[in-house]
């Protein structure tokens, strides 16, 4: 009986961790190119709305999912315009993008509040889902969860084994040397921003199309900021992001269950858990590793050529 409860909880951890995973991978992709995008929360919620609206209008959630990625990339491009073209401060621009994105999504989404959209239903993977323990935890979810399994290894391969991946990392580590070597650093940073925004948008779509199937205001509820923190926890490695995301998924699932079970603890205190955990996780990751793994030029703009 208890093992069943634990398995159900872990499966819920994977599901609620998935939107955070998409967003964290997106932010890793952007930060590797040397750009800090604190607008994850805003990009994510715009993706969530785009996915929801497109799925509702076309009746096709797959189209919605890709539309969310597209809108995510476009929204992140605003950050690109301000920071890459106009040399704006990356911290402030990201904050502004969060304010704008949240406002825009809540404004445009007002007409859809409380409505439902066709979303993704769970599909058990043949054979794999029958493995005791592992099966129910990892292989009885919707398709998007399976898609999210493929991205960390793909992103690792991209960074470690492809020319574009190396170029992107060079733009984030040592842009002057990359320029001297004939790379177009600005183009790589654009790739980092728009590509990262694509994944953040997908994370948003997971919330509206698979997690809730509903549109509500402030749907993302700080998950974008948790993703920013998880990038540090993951030491900028896609593989480690998986653990971080599921850890947060777990705490969110646990908190929901405790509320449902009618505990003595106030719901306000329970709702604090993920945010408090974010601080704890940040403290632990800086404790364990004093030297930073951040891309060396993270957050620093490249001055325009004379």
């Amino acid at each position: 009986m208890t093992s069943q409860i634990i398995i159900a909880l872990l499966a819920a951890a994977v599901q609620s961790g998935t939107p955070i995973l998409f967003a964290t991978l997106g932010e890793i992709f952007t930060e590797k190119s040397g750009v800090l995008n604190l607008g994850v929360e805003g990009v994510m919620i715009l993706g969530a709305l785009a996915g929801f609206v497109v799925a509702r209008q076309t009746g096709n959630p797959v189209l919605g999912f890709f539309a969310a990625g597209l809108i995510g990339g476009l929204a992140a491009a605003i950050h690109g315009v301000v920071c890459l073209w106009f040399q704006g401060n990356q911290v402030v621009s990201g904050l502004a993008l969060t304010i704008l994105g949240t406002g825009l999504a809540n404004y445009l989404g007002t007409a859809f509040i409380g409505m439902a959209a066709p979303g993704f239903a769970p599909v058990a993977v043949p054979l794999l889902s029958d493995i005791p323990g592992i099966g129910p935890i990892f292989f009885q979810h919707d398709v998007l969860v399976y898609v999210s399994y493929l991205i960390p290894p793909a992103m690792w391969l991209f960074f470690a084994r492809t020319r574009f991946g190396l170029g992107l990392r060079a733009a984030g580590e040592y842009p002057a040397a990359a320029t001297a070597a004939g790379l177009n650093v600005l183009a790589y940073r654009w790739l980092g921003i728009v590509g990262g925004g694509f994944f953040m948008g997908l994370g948003g779509a997971y919330l509206s199309l698979a997690y809730t199937h509903l549109w509500t205001t402030n749907l993302t509820g700080g998950r974008g900021w948790i993703a920013v923190a998880l990038v540090i926890f993951a030491f900028w490695r896609p593989g480690r992001a998986v653990f971080g995301a599921y850890l947060f998924g777990g705490i969110m699932a646990l908190q929901l269950r405790m509320q449902a079970s009618g505990t003595q603890l106030s719901s306000s205190i329970l709702l604090m858990l993920p945010y408090a955990l974010t601080v704890i996780v940040l403290v632990l990751s800086s404790w364990r590793k004093r030297t930073s793994d951040a891309p060396a030029s993270l957050g620093i703009n490249i001055a325009p050529a004379e």
């Binding site: 301000v82 809540n106 601080v279 403290v283």
Partner: protein, 355 residues
């Protein structure tokens, strides 16, 4: 490719030019907002006129704008102190909440104290609680190198939930018919209104504190050290400036000012503690600080402008049923365009292909 390129200016852009860039940025934000209004089915001309009328068009509107500018100004003053040192305190919202909580604690514990004792005690506790909420991320940053942006932001969520916990639970007014709010403060715990207006004496607090902060940066050694370290950390460290202590100081000052704003909001505006005081002034404060380039007097002007936009959006909501979230769009657009306009301080657009 394009006959257009960016060239460095010989001299940074002067005052007139900066004002022109700023006004262009504001105009562009309003234009983009108007386009969004028309996408939502509202006439853009009517929308913008309702917005501006609602913000500054009548005595009542103007008073409401000033009233909302008070907490925004104080939070922004605090945020600007930290930004001077390039410490990214995004936590004004939470520090504001803690200030309101601290002030309420005193107001509910000692309701019978005379006004001249009770109000200073409330301010002291508000500053202590707000300052403490700023001290925690500063200590974490200093000793463990944690990122203060994320920690201050997470502490906002925690502070708001803590406020909820108090007003839904232990501090809830038993006679409030289930509404989450504390009992009303005693007469002595309330900051009164300036004769004949709806504006409270918090305005005077703003003037005094703004002046003190200006004097602090203009004439004190520590103020100078903060500015110097903010401009160039490495040089400051070589010069032997106590950078670590400055970080602690600016975060505590920042939090204390936001806490003061929380005190005023609880004491003067709603006369009790309730969740409705958390409307994002702490985030608007960041927009204001950046718009004003961290200068106290400009912060005053920008605070009234942004507070006016909030009031104007309320009229839009009432008259034309535009969702309240529209305010966030304008704020985000203003911050983005002003940020982009910053390029023209040191660069200009040059025509022709160049060398």
């Amino acid at each position: 490719m394009f006959p257009m390129r960016i060239a460095k200016r010989q001299e940074p852009l002067g005052f007139g030019g900066s004002c022109f860039v700023l006004l262009t940025a504001l105009g562009l934000s309003l234009l983009l907002s108007a386009i969004l209004l028309s996408l939502g089915g509202t006439s853009p001309v009517r929308g913008i006129s309702v917005l501006l009328q609602g913000a500054f068009g009548s005595r009542w509107a103007l008073e409401d704008s000033v009233l909302k500018a008070i907490p925004i100004f104080l939070c922004s003053l605090g945020v600007a102190v930290a930004f001077r040192l390039k410490i990214w305190n995004i936590g004004a919202e939470g520090q504001f909440a803690l200030g309101a909580i601290g002030a309420t604690w005193i107001a509910l514990s000692f309701p019978g104290w005379p006004k001249y004792l009770l109000l200073p005690a409330m301010i002291g506790m508000a500053m202590t609680c707000g300052g403490l909420w700023g001290l925690i991320p500063a200590l974490l940053r200093q000793h463990l190198k944690t990122n203060e942006i994320i920690v201050t932001l997470m502490m906002n969520y925690i502070a708001i939930l803590f406020l909820d916990y108090l007003v839904y639970g232990v501090w809830k007014d038993p006679t409030s018919f289930g509404f989450p709010m504390t009992p009303m403060f005693s007469e002595q715990a309330i900051v009164g209104k300036i004769g004949g207006t709806s504006i409270n004496w918090g305005l005077a607090h703003c003037v005094i504190l703004g002046l003190l902060i200006w004097l602090f940066f203009r004439f004190t050694r520590i103020g100078f050290e903060i500015k110097a370290s903010g401009d160039n950390v490495r040089a400051a460290l070589y010069a032997g400036l106590p950078y670590d202590r400055l970080v602690i100081l600016v975060m505590v000052m920042s939090g204390a000012l936001a806490g003061w704003a929380g005190f005023l909001e609880a004491s003067a505006t709603v006369n009790r503690l309730q969740p409705s005081i958390m409307v994002g002034y702490g985030y608007t404060a960041i927009v204001v600080a950046w718009l004003a380039r961290l200068h106290p007097l400009s912060i005053g002007i920008a605070a009234i402008l942004l507070a006016g936009l909030r009031v104007g959006v309320e009229s839009l909501q009432l008259d034309l049923q535009v969702p309240a979230a529209f305010g966030g769009i304008i704020e985000g657009l203003i911050l983005l365009t002003v940020l982009a306009g910053g390029l023209f301080t040191h660069y200009r657009i040059a025509w022709g292909v160049g060398k």
